[in-house]
């Protein structure tokens, strides 16, 4: 019996032992910890480096200083002898683990957390024992708290001596985030999503890195930087990314600290930054007074001269040619009538300009940004203009006449009578409408001045530009004798008229190409409608005006064609009232191979470039701006400028004004301009104001500005 009892006791005891062993092993640690020092011996007053080495089992991880959505940062509790002090933990750049919806910042396999320690000058020589109580959370799917009491011995002596672990710690030092005093980084709050969620846009120059860009936030109170990152721009060293920031409590943070990340998993670098979002004063440190507004009288003179020069800009030229034709025809008319015609034309121009002024004032009053040529950003306006210009071209080809019921003119002498007062007025309107996508020298400054002023000023300046545009004709209509050098009226005039139809047809096609960005492939239906329009015009001209074969039926046919064509193609297929709303905010920039390496413009990009010591060239342009296209072709995308930009390592930024983004309108206004083109050259030197280049550029002007900005005045 005794034997049995003792046996049972033994069994029981061994069971307890096994159980307790199992209990101890129930949560075996998956992380081995070690304390290593970079020195065996240090002298009093010296500092040295300690490393907490954590070696984790496969698939297990421990956490960074900001663990992320879950987890816990590893903590070190030092027990140090008198005279030894520990600094903060230096954390190597972690990995980002998107796990379910909880993103965490982790270390896998192995990490060495570095801690600088300082030995006081009064520490006596001898052996010191350093103790660290390290606690961490290790996770795979489940998380287990881990901990270790670590010890290391350090000698204090007359001669410092590195330890065997020194090279290992130096290796881990290379994995620490860098601190770059010269790094220029910009952070700005973008449009808020909600009152608790904002977008933070971070931009920096990431020298040699090309991928893996991210921002790892440090731990934060009251707000949370969301884990998702949208890289909206990278290339040529400029990185721009967007992070959501959620406000949990209190005020929006003034500073957000963390790491700018770049590179791949095997070669990831981090740069420690403290962002100060929304420091707008830094991004626009060009004082507004840099562009002083000239006096009114000078501006009025500019407006007048600009208006005159507008006549020979490519947009207006076909209309001019027509007008000259009119004068030739009218040359022999009674002088009084010719003068009246000139005045009516001027009236057409002035009335159109006043309507434009009214539009600008209205748009400004509604709190929007207004700009010269802004109607060309409106797709419906473009459709109407394509139709009108096509009709004018068809009219010049002689397909139909504008005056209702007019017979075909077979003698050039009758031309003038055809160009009645209505025609003259319409010419004035057409000249104005076609003039707006162009801007002439002097005009940009004058209009910029007007747009910055009140309503009265806008009306005054627009009227003066109109008078300038109309001036040559009014002058000629009062002095028709000056046109004596032109050949006598004759059959050549009819041919010249048809000839002038071609530039207008080209204008129509150019305008049509502008509708493509608003309607995409649907714009094809507009082209089809133009054919129907031509057919209707022919039916009207041939059967109603010329031969009067059953004119009522013919007119009905023409109107029917137009109505059905309009309803089917324009309303039904083109759906001209609902253009494609593309993502205008992220308009991308396409670069031609071998051409200038353009990047999308933003005030931040300008500042980044300058901060990086680069000359910055900014071209504000639009598809509908002919002057801009000419500048680009003849003064920017030319070999001399391309190679000089490369040589200077200049940053070329393109601001696309085709869809009239408000940010660019603001920038144009800041430089006293009402519209594109605006070409700016910034020097990296902050005390130098940007150079505003003239509207009509030559390569020499651009090269000169680049040299001045680079400090290479020659």
């Amino acid at each position: 019996m005794m034997r049995y009892r003792s046996l049972r006791l033994v069994v029981l005891a061994s069971m307890v032992a096994v159980l307790s062993l199992r209990a101890m092993q129930a949560e075996p640690s998956h992380t081995q910890a070690r304390l290593v020092l970079d020195s065996d011996t240090v002298r009093p007053g010296e500092s040295f480096l300690a490393g907490i080495q954590l070696i984790m089992d496969a698939e297990w991880h421990t956490y960074w200083r900001n663990p992320g959505a879950s987890g816990m940062a590893t903590a070190i509790d030092w027990e140090l002898p008198e005279g030894v002090t520990a600094g903060p933990i230096q954390w190597p750049v972690p990995s980002k683990l998107p796990e379910d919806e909880l993103t965490t910042y982790i270390y896998e396999k192995e990490v060495v957390l570095l801690v600088p320690l300082q030995v006081a000058t009064n520490v006596a020589a001898g052996s010191l024992v350093l103790k660290a109580q390290v606690s961490w959370l290790e996770c795979k799917v489940q998380c287990i708290p881990g901990g270790a009491s670590l010890e290391a011995t350090l000698r204090v002596g007359p001669e410092s001596k590195p330890s065997a672990a020194a090279s290992q710690l130096r290796h881990w030092q290379t994995k620490l985030p860098q601190t770059q005093s010269t790094l220029d980084v910009q952070a700005t709050w973008a449009a808020p999503q909600t009152d608790k969620l904002r977008n933070l846009v971070i931009e920096w120059m990431a020298k040699d890195l090309t991928q893996g860009f991210d921002f790892y936030p440090h731990e934060s109170d009251g707000f949370e930087v969301q884990p998702n990152t949208v890289v909206t721009q990278s290339g040529n060293g400029v990185v721009r990314l967007t992070k959501g920031v959620k406000l949990l409590s209190g005020e929006w943070p003034g500073t957000i600290s963390g790491l700018l990340i770049g590179g791949t998993a095997t070669n990831r670098t981090g740069i420690k930054v403290t962002l100060q979002p929304g420091s707008k004063d830094k991004t626009s440190n060009i004082p507004d007074a840099a562009v002083p507004l000239p006096p009114l009288l000078q501006m009025l003179l500019y407006a007048f001269i600009g208006g005159i020069i507008l006549n020979i800009m490519p947009c207006v030229l076909p209309v001019i040619a027509l007008k000259i034709l009119g004068f030739v025809g009218q040359a022999r008319d009674e002088p009084a009538k010719v003068r009246r015609m000139g005045l009516v034309y001027a009236l057409g121009v002035v009335v159109s300009f006043l309507m434009l002024a009214g539009l600008v004032i209205g748009v400004k009053a509604a709190g929007h940004q207004a700009g010269w040529g802004m109607q060309f950003g409106n797709p419906q306006f473009l459709v109407i203009l394509v139709v009108v210009v096509t009709l004018v071209a068809l009219n010049l080809f002689g397909l139909f006449e504008i005056t209702p019921g007019a017979r075909v003119m077979d003698t050039a002498g009758a031309l003038a009578s055809r160009q009645g007062y209505v025609g003259a007025f319409f010419n004035g309107v057409l000249a104005t409408v076609l003039a707006t996508p162009c801007t002439a020298p002097f005009l940009g400054v004058a209009l910029g001045f007007a747009f910055a002023q009140g309503a009265a000023s806008i009306v005054l300046m627009f009227t003066v530009v109109a008078l300038g545009l109309a001036f040559p004709y009014v002058l000629l209509s009062w002095q028709p004798a000056w046109l004596r050098f032109l050949p006598r009226p004759g059959a050549w005039m009819e041919r010249f008229k048809v000839l002038m139809g071609f530039p207008l047809l080209a204008t129509a096609i150019w305008l049509y190409s502008l509708t493509l960005i608003h309607y995409g492939p649907r714009a094809w239906w507009l082209a089809l409608f133009l054919v129907v329009l031509g057919l209707a015009a022919w039916v009207y001209g041939e059967f109603v005006q010329r031969h009067r074969v059953r004119p009522v039926l013919a007119a009905a046919c023409a109107v029917g064609l137009l109505a059905v064509g309009f309803a089917y193609t324009i309303e039904g297929q083109l759906r001209w009232r609902s253009p494609i709303t593309a993502n205008a905010a992220n308009s991308s920039v396409s670069n031609k191979p071998g051409g200038i390496d353009w990047h999308p413009w933003s005030p931040e990009a300008v500042e980044l470039g300058r901060a990086n010591g680069r000359v910055v060239l900014v071209d504000f342009t639009a598809d509908w701006c002919l002057t801009c296209q000419a500048n680009k072709k003849f003064a920017l995308e030319v070999p001399e400028v391309q190679s000089r930009l490369k040589e200077l390592n200049a940053l070329a930024l393109l601001g696309d004004y085709t869809r009239l983004p408000a940010a660019i309108t603001r920038e144009l206004n800041r430089f006293g301009r009402a519209g594109v083109p605006l070409v700016l050259v910034f020097s990296p030197a902050r005390d130098q104001p940007p150079q505003v280049l003239p509207e009509a550029l030559t390569p020499g002007v651009v090269l000169g500005a680049l040299n001045r900005a680079a400090g290479r005045e020659r």
Partner: protein, 199 residues
């Protein structure tokens, strides 16, 4: 450009998978079954303060609150004031931390839990509706059904030590609600372990 668009899509997708609730707004209603098969509907508790606790005892952060008895004390405090405490376990069935009804009842007894009920949310429905991110992520809903607080249970993310020494946001919110005052801190970042949702 294309890449950015895809990322944006991904961002949008992620944010719909785990919903978000806003403090100061009505808390979304839900119906869930507890480990005894009883149905609980949030709106039925209108007029009472309701605490939701994202729970998983295998999480060392949660465990520390229970093994020190701090969590049970807080539950008792809520109950004594007529409040409701719902333990929400959203661990999916395939995870080793999942508890079937029997195991849950055992755990309830051994932990001496003082909550109103343990909701079986292995589908993750309630957890995802509230955007529960970690255990222990807590939510306090006031008598009018408005979310008064969401976030960490206290300001000390720890797997050891006494939670009673920390600033407890649930207790703080409760005191403010009883006094009829404004809740000062209505949203903090939750700490702890991932929830282990069903996919």
């Amino acid at each position: 450009m294309k890449h950015a668009f895809i990322t944006l899509l991904a961002v949008a997708f992620c944010s719909t998978a785990l919903a978000e609730v806003e403090s100061g707004k009505p808390a979304p209603d839900f119906t869930a079954t507890d480990i005894h098969g009883k149905t609980h509907k949030l709106s039925d508790y209108r007029g009472k303060i309701v605490v939701l606790e994202a729970y998983n005892l295998d999480c060392p952060f949660v465990k520390n609150h229970y093994k020190t008895g701090a969590m049970q004390e807080l539950q008792k405090e809520i109950a004594s004031k007529g409040g409701i405490w719902l333990v929400v376990n959203s661990v999916h069935e395939g995870n080793s931390s999942h508890r079937n009804a029997e195991a849950a009842k055992n755990e309830w007894a051994t932990q001496k839990m003082n909550a109103t009920a343990w909701l079986d949310d292995s589908s993750g429905e309630v957890g995802k509706k509230y955007g529960m991110r970690t255990t222990p992520h807590v939510f306090v809903i006031d008598q009018q059904g408005v979310l008064a607080y969401q976030g960490a249970i206290d300001d000390k993310a720890a797997t050891n030590g006494d939670p009673r020494e920390a600033r407890n946001y649930v207790r703080e919110t409760l005191a403010k609600l009883e006094a009829g005052g404004r809740v000062q801190v209505s949203h903090t970042k939750p700490y702890g372990c991932g929830i282990k949702y069903a996919n």
